[in-house]
């Protein structure tokens, strides 16, 4: 295989040459390791690549340019809320006072960060209508696990140990059922009604004394607000179960709907979506969890508390025995939370306008596509922050699939939307423009999609052969999975020394 084209790069190991790279740290004294038993020591340093700084820089600068990112163009990846990441926030997180603080620093020298976390908790509680918030979970999925574990602890605390089921509508995000499993529950899938909302009859049928919780992604992965949410919540609570709201799509309802006020018992936030902290090519994020009164005792520790003298402190180990414990080390992904705090304070009450603009942009884009008619729009009613389009008709007519449309968008300079997700819609494209994209961009994207449909009719091979302008063309994913090559050197092929 060849690395072809001036843009692709050799891997770090190919750039290595023994003897290169120096000048970063002083050399240790010869006897530095004399106190360490020799049978604990490596014979030779690990076989890492040896490069000098100029090569490192070129490598990563050139690699970075192979990425499409929010900073380079429109990125309407549905469900992911690829909004702009303010540069102030990057600056703030790097302030030495924040970046250099050790997670076990005694509270008295950590007052700045503790105050920030305390205020952030309060603001998230206000935004969600929840009673209290834990900032510990490292991402949305961990927030979900936290929430479900609290629900479990709640039922147990009441001696209610027979609740083994978690109801999950089929329009829920994949992490919801995966979380239920991880927490030791059985997932019961609930189908959607034709309007995209939960099928209330099916829901009631599934609900019962074995139901521990229901997990509702709201707005759902279809971009739709759950219209019968009041009915569902009442039913859940009547059945003695608790209601979890997957709040990853909160960007759609800021200032319009507070889950806590509406009756949800627990929810998580995705600060890397709603509050604009960077997605980092796959992470990091942070997934704070908000709870109502019921689940308050079970929040993970340590929480951040304010003393009567106005100072802040972390909860001490064992201080709150009802806690479900910890999900990870230390307090949380503080560096991410600093960014979220900055974003929330930059907007303050104007967070409601963020939602207005995000929802307006999504509906406008949906309307532009609906008016054209090349793509199916399965749900006609107003969407929230995102909407589903589908290439079902286009495919029937031309053979061109959603995957092809997506790849062709790359040639137009756009990142494709999320495709084949949600799983419940055939040939789905989940399109989320966010509030930080200009009208010009929305128009250009709609025009591109419409032009691609025209191409599909006139010269489908252009679409199925796309992309042509990207650094690489379509990949052989099958071989990658069949014969995984997951590291630069050949796998050592060592076998597991135990039964599988």
């Amino acid at each position: 295989m060849s690395v072809t084209g001036p843009r692709l790069q050799p891997v770090l190991f190919e750039r290595s040459k023994p003897g290169r790279g120096d000048g970063k740290v002083p050399h240790p004294p010869k006897d530095a390791l004399d106190r360490v038993p020799s049978d604990q020591l490596r014979a030779a340093p690990p076989a890492l690549p040896e490069l000098n700084e100029p090569e490192v820089v070129r490598h990563y600068v050139n690699l970075s340019q192979l990425n499409h990112a929010v900073d380079t163009g429109f990125y309407p990846l549905g469900s992911c809320t690829m909004k702009f990441n303010p540069k102030l926030n990057e600056w703030a997180a790097r302030l030495p006072g924040f970046a250099g603080l050790h997670p076990e620093a005694p509270d008295e020298i950590a007052q700045g960060t503790l105050q920030l976390l305390f205020e952030l908790e309060a603001m998230l509680a206000e935004i969600s209508g929840m009673r209290a918030v834990s900032l510990q979970p490292a991402a949305g999925a961990q927030g979900e696990l936290t929430g479900i574990l609290m629900i479990r602890a709640y039922h147990r605390s009441r001696g209610d140990v027979e609740r083994t089921d978690v109801l999950v509508p089929d329009s829920a995000h994949g992490t919801n059922p995966a979380t239920a499993t991880m927490a030791g529950f059985r997932t019961v899938n609930v189908p959607s009604a034709p309007d995209g909302g939960v099928d209330v009859d099916a829901f009631r049928a599934a609900l019962g004394p074995r139901t521990a919780a229901v997990m509702v992604t709201n707005p759902s992965t279809l971009g739709l607000f759950e219209p019968r949410i009041g009915e569902l919540l009442s039913a859940v609570h009547e059945a003695g179960a608790l209601a979890y709201m997957d709040g990853a799509n909160l960007n759609a309802i800021l200032g319009r709907f507070k889950p806590g006020e509406a009756g949800f018992d627990v929810m998580h936030f995705n600060v890397h979506k709603t509050f604009s902290t960077p997605h980092g090519g796959g992470g990091p994020g942070a997934g704070p969890v908000g709870v109502g009164e019921t689940l308050l005792p079970f929040l993970p520790w340590p929480r951040v508390l304010r003393e009567t003298d106005g100072s802040f402190r972390r909860e001490r180990p064992g201080e709150r025995p009802t806690s479900i414990g910890r999900l990870r080390s230390f307090v949380g992904n503080t560096g991410v939370l600093v960014r979220a705090y900055a974003y929330i304070r930059a907007h303050g009450t104007a967070l409601a306008e963020v939602t207005n603009d995000a929802v307006l942009a999504a509906n406008y884009l949906k309307q532009r596509l609906a008016a054209d008619g090349s793509y199916d729009i399965p749900f006609g009613r107003p969407c929230k922050h995102e909407f589903v389009a589908s290439s079902t008709s286009l495919r029937k007519e031309t053979g061109v699939r959603t995957l092809d449309v997506a790849k062709r968008l790359i040639d137009f300079g756009f990142h494709p939307p999320t495709v084949y997700f949600p799983l419940t819609v055939d040939e789905a494209m989940l399109i989320e423009p966010t509030e930080t994209e200009s009208l010009e961009t929305l128009d250009a994207f709609a025009a591109a999609l419409i032009e691609i449909a025209a191409e599909a009719r006139s010269s489908p091979e252009i679409v199925t052969g796309a992309p042509q302008t990207a650094p690489v063309r379509r990949l052989d994913e099958a071989t990658a999975a069949r014969q995984p090559d997951l590291r630069w050197r050949p796998m050592t092929g060592r076998q597991m020394p135990c039964p599988d």
Binding site: M1, P46, N67, A138
Partner: protein
């Protein structure tokens, strides 16, 4: 709107296209009685003022002390190149590389990360990545149960207490059992995992063990007999999870070198700022045999239609967005940017640099040991360590507080971290790294001397003085 582009005209144009007069109509589907009360938040804050607020908060933290605090998160020198490359928007404003054609930068960087950590751990399969060391270790423990179809995991008490708590949280729920392996109480091996107890626990056939989790260096800084632990575990068909600190792998034997099946650990020391606990980087690696059990992202090498080398996410049928309730884990967003930071760090510092970092830490720790012993605080355990160790200080919490006032952050008060272990009641856990200076050590030693003098805290049994190098 600080970051929004829409002018009133733009909004009017969009509303007109939708045939509605106000944006409120788009929210008509929210049941009236469930609509939100007004947002009680502060007004929007212009950047000028917000930046001052943020600097003000940051300044309220004190990060300028002579610090000897490690205990799972370590101060290191990060070459300036690391953050400057990381700050490129092409990295941090992208997401999961679902579309490989426009994500080769991220994908290749992940493949390289996998390769680098594979070299460092001596294992073949590296997941990229997990939330932190604790969550990665818990995932590693879960892997042992899935792979062996057994339900009991043994965890050394010398694994970081937060990790043990996390393992309990992750495992307890599925009815899995977590038992702790005690530590040797005294003698030359004091403070390390009790191998006799481990052997005894493993022997219980009624509750077969899926995995054994031991850290090296352990929470107390001590080096563990890892090869022996591995042999004992494998003898009864259990898997061996090694919890590692990656900088130490610049000089210590790698997990693959002593038979570990899984390595887990905290990647923060590889160029990631302390930032009060995160975002950090959960390292998780395994033998090739466990490839289908490992949770999290995997990137593999393949080629494109024209035969160009290219990278792609692979073996995705383990992930939640495809398998939903049957996934290997619910992990979705991971710590990719931190994996990138670790890769850039390793590329910038190189294998010899990493060795030097580890060895300098050891050298500084040795000097620290001598200086503190001389000042009246000898080590708590006799066994070998790399760059972190516990010292015995009467009334440790009070002395620690006193030292703070003298601008010394004297490590961790062990009684607060491990309140149930009486042998640690007088302990401070202290560490040195390549950034520890002689001045810092001198300041610590003399401040400690002064603190010990303050009350009659000098231990009854005089310690051997004068061995300072």
């Amino acid at each position: 709107m600080p970051y929004g582009p829409h002018t009133p005209d733009d909004r009017a144009q969009m509303l007109a296209a939708l045939g509605i007069s106000t944006v409120d109509e788009l929210f008509a589907d929210i049941p009236r009685e469930l609509r939100a009360s007004p947002l009680n938040l502060p007004p929007p804050e212009p950047e000028l003022e917000l930046s001052a607020r943020l600097s003000g908060l940051a300044r309220r933290n004190r990060v300028d002390m002579a610090s000897f605090l490690g205990a799972g998160a370590y101060r290191h020198y990060t070459p300036a190149v690391v953050d400057q490359l990381l700050l490129r928007g092409e990295w941090y404003t992208a997401y999961t590389p679902y579309q490989p054609e426009v994500s080769q930068g991220t994908l290749q960087s992940i493949y390289e990360y996998e390769s680098l950590i594979a070299e460092l751990t001596g294992l073949d399969v590296v997941s990229a990545s997990h939330y932190d060391g604790a969550a990665a270790t818990a995932e590693g423990a879960l892997m042992t149960c899935r792979a062996t179809r057994r339900e009991r995991v043994l965890v050394s008490r010398a694994v970081h207490p937060d990790y043990r708590a996390t393992i309990r949280t992750y495992l307890s729920v599925g009815g899995l059992v977590v038992d702790e392996i005690p530590l040797v109480a005294d003698g030359p091996a004091a403070g390390t995992t009790d191998l006799a107890a481990l052997q005894h626990m493993l022997a219980d056939e009624s509750e077969p063990v899926a995995g054994v989790v031991v850290a090296n260096p352990n929470f107390l800084g001590l080096l563990e007999p890892m090869a022996e632990v591995g042999r004992l575990a494998h003898a009864v068909g259990a898997l061996f999870v090694s919890v590692v600190e990656p900088v130490s792998l610049g000089v210590l034997l790698p997990p693959g070198g002593y038979g570990a099946d899984i390595a887990a650990g905290e990647g923060q020391p590889l160029g990631i700022p302390l930032q009060y606990g995160g975002p950090y980087l959960g390292l998780l690696a395994s033998t090739e045999a466990l490839v289908r059990q490992i949770p999290g992202r995997l990137v593999g090498l393949t080629k494109d239609l024209d035969g160009r080398r290219a990278f792609v996410m692979t073996l995705r049928a383990r992930e939640q967005d495809i398998r939903r309730e049957k996934a290997a884990s619910n992990i979705c967003t991971n710590q990719a940017l931190l994996a990138l930071a670790a890769s850039i760090y390793l590329a910038a510092i190189g294998p010899h640099g990493l060795r030097d970092v580890a060895a300098l830490g050891a050298a500084h720790a040795a000097a620290l040991e001598d200086a503190l012993a001389d000042a009246g605080a000898p080590r708590l355990h006799p066994g070998p360590y790399l760059n972190e160790f516990a010292i015995r200080v009467p009334d440790a919490a009070a002395v620690h507080r006193g030292l703070l006032d003298r601008d010394v952050l004297a490590g961790l008060v062990l009684a607060e971290a491990e309140p149930e272990d009486p042998s640690l009641a007088d302990g401070l856990l202290v560490c040195a790294t390549e950034v520890t200076t002689k001045d810092d050590i001198d300041r610590f030693a003399s401040a400690l001397r002064a603190e010990l003098r303050k009350t009659d805290r000098i231990p009854a049994v005089p310690v051997a003085g004068g061995v300072a190098s």
